[in-house]
Symmetry: C2
Subunit: 428 residues, 2 copies
């Protein structure tokens, strides 16, 4: 294979430009490692005139990503536009139809359409690779699909949204309220155009669904991910968690159980001294557990030009070297449909609520918990704020089911001044 | 590729039996992921009659690994015997000559003969894979060779000998002297037959040399690794390091500098709260740094049946899937010969020495340091033991060169009661 590998890159944002820079800067190294040169033949983006800091004069320009995907002079369609539907999906479908391999960083598209796209590509003998879609520069898809391929995977978990982790650690370290740090993150350009994708846990949920598919040989099931965002975490939650020796992290966990596939992405309390608890800023961490290997932990930058482009390059170099694997590690047609299971492993929970200043309010809450079979480890009522009183409860180990039974009961007591916040305490 | 992949396994120790168990237990999963079945056709070990807990009745038996390697009914020769020369090398050479791919966990053989073996295999179009040779179950060779292939690697470092880390953390946690924990490790079967391979830093040095080769595109240069073992670390060193907020770890670092390739494997002080400092027992950690990705940290079990067999299976599955890469990530004939460089980055050092009870002894030591240009941050003389006095010095940042100039000077003072111990303080 001494012919060049010819790329068409759709999307010239941070990641796209990062890929162009690597292909240029490390050209000789890439050729040595891949056994052939890697060339950018054509590119496509919304605004041709925009200054991007790199010269694209040697590349053909396409205004339409579908036209780029169909060009006869490209081997690999590199999709870095983003968005679950629209141009990204249309162009990816066109590339597959035109007989191209595809490299993408698009978690949303794969979380929603991964099965159909993989089946289409595999029917034609083409590959779709997406290392950059999950945990940025951390080589987690390769670790799971290839390095741990001899293992039955028992659990995958991780902190996979750098923006949420930035917000939570910044609140912790600077003692700032959520709203203020959220605005700061927006100014710094850390948030997606629709910030709900980040702080609502959706982006991280997409990533978890992709990991779970490869881990358990199941069709991607984004709808099966129980998602809670970080929007309701207050600086008081962070302070109280810290007082008890915990940090709050947006943590994803996927497990295959006898009752089905459990997938959850939610803010949890983790021990401050644990590797997850020590994770600062935009750094991501993924934990992979298999029946032979035990536990592997991977840590690295979850976003940014260099790290994400590095992951895209990994897929491109694999294709240049002739490595050809099914999208999800086994043929897409053999992936099973997983039954979604509710969270089953018991854990202690942190509950924070605001009670109206009525006699017996605390007793009513305690009664509801008792009736749901949830026993209380610690309970503390703080000084009254105006006419309400903040209450913090740490339960003994209980199930999410028992807790979900209790939560509506709280409302029925008529003493809640605001909906309660319930956070799982993970002592991993 | 629907024909089975046929293995011949030489060596049925812990790892060999681990591989047999995975191939049996996860047969269906492996077939799904690899696209073909994986079969163990023939095996070889020293003692045919030994009870190994698995039935080998379905496999042909060979007494001679060379005969196994040459069998016409195997595709892959799996070398799990160990030893840099002797039967392992003879059988690997025979396998290459007979047109087989090779999977091995043998760091010693590759550290010494990797270049010749890789050239021989690549000339015939065959592959040698060795994920299990470095850091057990951690997928570090794949991360470096494939996931980070778009990067110019700037540094690799890690704790890669689980036995040494077990000894050091056990000394720390139980407050036991080196000799006692060494004997305990021997009883537990954690030590190599020749324990110098472990505690002398040689095994970890082999691993570092392999990592450096792939990282920097250079021929494996085990002779270029500056190696110090942990044999001279005392419980006092561990206690005094802890008092200053450090842990002692056998740490390997490889860097390409303008002056050449720096490779060192030596006990160092690292911050107790750092990821490296928190590494307990047999767990390994490898840090990879590249120009695009920044820093990636991988943590996992560095030895043991399951984890090491998991890494061996990763290589076997790659071969079954048709993935074929050069042994060291680029053709062996293109690897450069690296000029070995001395350790250049300045760091503070921890010095421990025993002085004879003579007037002015401490002053003479301080003078020698001053003359070598090494300035003292902290110095403490402890209460006299018999006729000698233990002295602990922490220097300001200095170079290893300056320190190496000072060390012979200490001897010439005539006040040392024992050779000094010098440990680098890494604040990574």
């Amino acid at each position: 294979m001494t012919t060049p590998l010819r790329l068409g890159i759709a999307g010239l944002g941070t990641v796209g430009i990062g890929v162009v820079k690597i292909v240029r800067r490390n050209a000789a190294l890439l050729a040595l490692r891949a056994g052939r040169t890697i060339e950018i033949v054509a590119v496509c983006a919304r605004d041709k005139g925009k200054e991007r800091g790199v010269s694209l004069a040697s590349c053909a320009w396409e205004d339409d990503p579908v036209a780029l995907a169909r060009r006869s002079d490209i081997d690999v369609f590199v999709e870095l536009m983003g968005g679950s539907d629209g141009p990204a999906k249309a162009a990816t479908e066109a590339a597959i139809e035109a007989g191209k391999d595809v490299v993408t960083a698009n978690k949303a598209m794969l979380a929603h359409h991964g099965q159909a796209l993989a089946e289409a590509a595999e029917a034609r003998g083409h590959v779709i690779r997406f290392e950059a879609a999950v945990a940025g520069g951390i080589p987690v898809m390769k670790a799971l699909t290839e390095s741990l391929a001899g293992n039955e995977i028992t659990r995958v978990m991780g902190v996979m949204n750098g923006t949420c982790n930035y917000i939570l650690t910044r609140m912790q370290n600077a003692g700032l309220p959520y709203e203020e740090v959220f605005e700061e993150a927006r100014r710094l350009g850390y948030l997606e155009a629709d910030p709900t994708l980040d702080v609502g846990g959706i982006d991280a949920g997409h990533k978890l669904a992709l990991l779970a598919s490869v881990a358990f040989g199941t069709r991607v099931s984004f709808d099966g991910v129980r998602i809670e965002g970080i929007e309701r975490i207050t600086i008081e939650d962070i302070r109280r968690a810290a007082d008890m020796g915990f940090r709050i992290k947006l943590l994803g966990v996927a497990r295959m159980t006898a009752r089905g596939l459990e997938q959850r992405m939610s803010p949890c309390l983790v021990p401050a001294s644990s590797p997850l608890g020590q994770l600062e800023g935009g750094t991501n961490m993924v934990v992979l557990e298999g029946d032979s290997v035990g536990q592997i932990v991977l840590r690295g930058p979850g976003a940014g030009e260099g790290p994400t482009a590095s992951a895209v390059m990994s897929d491109i170099i694999d294709i240049a070297r002739g490595t050809r694997l099914p999208t999800f590690g086994q043929p897409a047609t053999t992936l099973k449909t997983a039954r979604p299971a509710r969270v089953s492993a018991p854990a202690p929970y942190y509950l924070r609520m605001k009670l109206q200043d009525k006699p017996g309010a605390l007793a009513r809450i305690a009664t509801v918990l008792g009736e749901a079979g949830v026993s209380i480890d610690r309970m503390r009522q703080y000084g009254h704020e105006d006419t309400t009183a903040p209450v913090l409860i740490v339960t003994h180990k209980t199930t999410r089911d028992a807790l979900d039974k209790a939560l509506p009961g709280f409302s029925r007591t008529g003493v809640l001044a605001a909906p309660p916040v319930a956070l799982r305490i993970e002592t991993v």
